[in-house]
Symmetry: C2
Subunit: 114 residues, 2 copies
């Protein structure tokens, strides 16, 4: 029997969602407690490979970087997340969807475990 691990093949391009916004906190462990439930929900988003949560208390900024397996899922998530942040009163949200360049990203170990 042959088991195919599609995530290890990268035959289709992957898509990166990049979000950041001004934030007065919470940061660190308080941030982790405040958004733990949301993180479990995000882990189940359609097409999500992974998300890294980003924070910079000194600069007053926070955000996230996400890898998605399809462009449609990436854009749909960005639209949904931007609306959610706006509903919480977050302003000046900067969101981008990028294609991941597979050949270059492989050289720099970015797709070793995608």
């Amino acid at each position: 029997m042959t088991i195919t691990h599609t995530h290890e093949r990268h035959t289709e391009p992957l898509w990166l969602v990049q979000v950041d916004f001004p934030s007065g906190g919470p940061f660190g462990e308080e941030m982790a407690e405040a958004y733990s439930e949301l993180a479990h929900s995000i882990a189940g988003e359609s097409g999500l490979v992974w998300k890294l949560w980003t924070e910079n208390p000194e600069a007053g900024e926070a955000g996230g970087v996400y890898l998605f397996s399809t462009r449609e899922d990436a854009q749909a998530y960005l639209d949904k997340h931007t609306a959610r942040l706006s509903s919480w009163g977050t302003e000046d949200i900067r969101g981008r969807v990028f294609r991941v360049n597979p050949a270059l990203s492989r050289i720099t170990r970015g797709l070793d475990h995608a």
Copy 2:
């Protein structure tokens, strides 16, 4: 004998460098050919865990997202890369260094293989 895989432990925080800028290309396979040598050089940067290369021909933007094992390496790389891009005539470079929130990023599979 005990072998310690420090990268799998995440006892120290990781640092994300986020860079993007307006770009008229090259994109896709031409981009991969143009920057293959640079990618091999970046793969050897001090403290680099991985880099994902990002591109959006429709929006006319490109960039990169990097994971580093120390804040000092992250900031030093951002300074160096920004100077390199500027020397090539790239303007409006947007660069950020963020701490990765470990607890939340673990929930969303972002540190499974960091």
